[in-house]
């Protein structure tokens, strides 16, 4: 009983991060019908920026987080403006290649700047866990869950009630109509990238704090975040959140049954399964025809 509760707790904690990252994927896909492969690296860069500020420069971790959020917002914005915008009307193959290349670029950049050693954002020693409903959960983990939920709710409010949020939903629904009614498409797309990147940055900081950072942490997060988005129905914000938790749970319960070396492969496996069996996800996303019509 205690083991199950633990696995579920771990799954939920991990899932909340996956949800944060999945949101970035799903939002970008929603407006541009394009998979931003490099999104996972933004998550990684967020963690590293926070590290530079709080450990490298010795400032407060909160300051580090804020700088990371802003820094990633800028990175997301520039990424779109410089590498993706010129390709907006090219064939689908080209921006995809650019995205993969960007992902590799950021990884090597991090490798060169910071080296491959594992680092951590937390100065203090290992925390002790509290017992909640049969599972051992540390205060940091609770914070992760709390922050993630607050952000997701915030995003929901943003999308539903603010002008820019509504613009994003309009562009995701039908870009041509949106531009006809006067929505500034470029600005909306930039906003999507910025917000997605900021969420990813927070995810990176949280994980860097709770666990550790390394230059390839974005790679596995890419797949998990993207898989979560697909499970929920790519383009569907709420689906992405559910997908995130789903992946987190499946992963953590899964390694009870199979060797833990396969943990990252679980997400790949779910991804492949989804794409082949149910590409539109479980909550109906924006795939017009993921499979041939």
């Amino acid at each position: 009983m205690g083991v199950t509760a633990q696995l579920i707790a771990n799954g939920i904690i991990a899932g909340s991060i996956y949800a944060l990252v999945a949101l970035g994927y799903t939002m970008v896909y929603g407006v541009l019908k394009f998979i931003n492969f490099a999104h996972g690296e933004v998550y990684m860069l967020g963690a590293y920026i926070a590290w530079v500020v709080s450990i490298g420069l010795g400032l407060n971790i909160i300051v580090g987080t804020i700088v990371a959020i802003l820094g990633c917002a800028v990175i997301g914005f520039l990424m779109e403006k410089i590498a993706y915008k010129p390709l907006r009307y090219s064939s689908r193959l080209i921006p995809l290649i650019t995205a993969i290349a960007l992902s590799l670029f950021f990884q090597s950049l991090a490798l060169l700047l910071f080296g491959a050693e594992v680092r951590t954002l937390r100065q203090s020693s290992v925390e002790s866990g509290m017992q909640i409903l049969g599972a051992s959960v540390t205060p940091t983990q609770i914070m992760i869950l709390g922050v993630s939920i607050v952000l997701m709710v915030g995003l929901h409010v943003f999308l539903k009630y603010t002008k820019m949020g509504k613009a994003m939903r309009a562009v995701a629904d039908n870009m041509q109509v949106a531009s006809v009614i006067g929505i500034n498409i470029d600005r909306t797309i930039s906003a999507v990238f910025i917000i997605g990147s900021m969420l990813a940055a927070v995810g990176g900081v949280l994980v860097g704090y709770e666990q550790n950072l390394n230059p390839t942490m974005g790679v596995s997060m890419s797949i998990k975040g993207f898989t979560a988005a697909v499970v929920g129905g790519i383009g569907n914000i709420y689906g992405a959140v559910i997908g995130g938790f789903a992946i987190g749970l499946i992963e953590n319960i899964g390694i009870w049954f199979i060797p833990s070396g396969y943990k990252d492969a679980i997400a790949f496996f779910i991804l492949v399964l989804m794409l082949v069996l149910r590409p539109q996800g479980f909550f109906g996303g924006k795939t017009e025809e993921a499979t041939r019509g």
Binding site: F34, I35, A83, P86, L87, S90, R92, L93, I94, P95, L96, I97, T98, I100, A101, L102, L104, F105, Q107, S108, L109, L111, L112, G115, A116, V219, I223, F226, P259, G261, Y262, D264, A265, F268, F269, L271, V272, L275, V276, P279, E289, A290, T291, R292, G293
Partner: protein, 292 residues
């Protein structure tokens, strides 16, 4: 002199990889991000067979067949998917295969890799660089020859039509799924023999040589040279293999060199996509020989 031979051998191996990927990506329009997995499957197949006593010639052919089979198995679920989804699905399969190579320790020794792979031998043992280079060059030329034959034919024409407009191709009576599968299987099979060659040249393999980064590298070579141009693939390979070589002579730790290399390829790709996505060499245009 061993250095130059080494470079040429590596170039030959990558030519086979690039040409086979070009068949799939450049001519048929399928974004296959799992190509390095076929490379790895070929390498492991050949290594394990020869270590079990199978003669190299047979192991070599086996790596062709087994990699091709995996191409078929992966193609079955994936080829139905549209562009970006196909890319991610193949990427996913590639990573799953690598996870298996890394974790199925009883078969592959996992991350420790397989050392002591016997040298390639086919009537004579290719134990010197020069001998292996001749072997590699012959295989590379044969590969180019076969793929060229395929793409410059009515069969190749159908592949291109699938790339251009799958729906129109169907409307003209082409069994699109079948053609895509053939292209994928053949491309995978050739990547497999490149793997075999790699295994018997380096004599040591481990899963870290067959990562997504490796696939991206091959993609760069194809794209730089020009999708749909075999000559371009050769040029792309030569440029991208030689470009980072000067770094070897600068006194930097190898991890840094590797990172710079990767960054170089990434930047080249990004710039290429914006400035000249068709690559260096354009496609050869078909000229109808019309008797008037």
């Amino acid at each position: 002199m061993g250095y130059i031979e080494h470079l040429l051998i590596i170039i030959c191996i990558y030519i086979i990889l690039a040409v086979s990927l070009n068949l799939i990506m450049g001519f048929t329009g399928l974004l296959n991000l799992g190509h390095a997995a076929f490379f790895g499957i070929g390498a492991y197949t050949s290594a394990l067979l020869t270590l079990a006593g199978v003669p190299f010639g047979i192991a070599f052919i086996a790596s062709f067949v087994v990699a091709g089979m995996f191409g078929f198995l992966i193609g079955l679920p994936c080829l139905r998917l549209r562009g970006d989804y196909l890319a991610i699905a193949t990427l996913g399969f590639g990573e799953i295969i690598r996870a298996v190579l890394k974790n199925w320790i009883s078969l592959t020794r996992g991350p420790l890799g397989i050392p002591g792979i016997p040298k390639a031998s086919f009537f004579i043992t290719f134990d010197t660089s020069v001998k292996f280079l001749v072997f590699a060059a012959v295989i590379a030329v044969v590969t180019i020859g076969i793929v060229s034959r395929l793409v410059h034919s009515p069969f190749g024409r159908v592949l291109k039509s699938i790339r251009e407009d799958e729906i129109a191709a169907q409307a003209l009576g082409k069994n699109v799924m079948k053609y895509k599968m053939i292209a994928l299987v053949i491309g995978a099979a050739f990547a497999g023999i490149a793997g075999s060659m790699y295994a018997h040249y380096i004599t040591f393999i481990d899963p870290s040589s067959f990562t997504l980064v490796e696939t991206i590298l091959i993609v760069s070579m194809v794209v730089l040279g020009g999708l749909g141009s075999l000559l371009g693939s050769v040029i792309g390979v030569i440029i991208l293999v030689l470009l980072p070589e000067p770094l070897r002579f600068v006194q930097l730790p190898s991890a840094i060199v590797a990172a710079i290399r990767q960054m170089l390829y990434a930047i080249i790709l990004i710039v290429l996509m914006i400035v000249r996505p068709q690559g260096m060499v354009g496609e050869k245009r078909y000229k109808a020989r019309v008797e008037e």
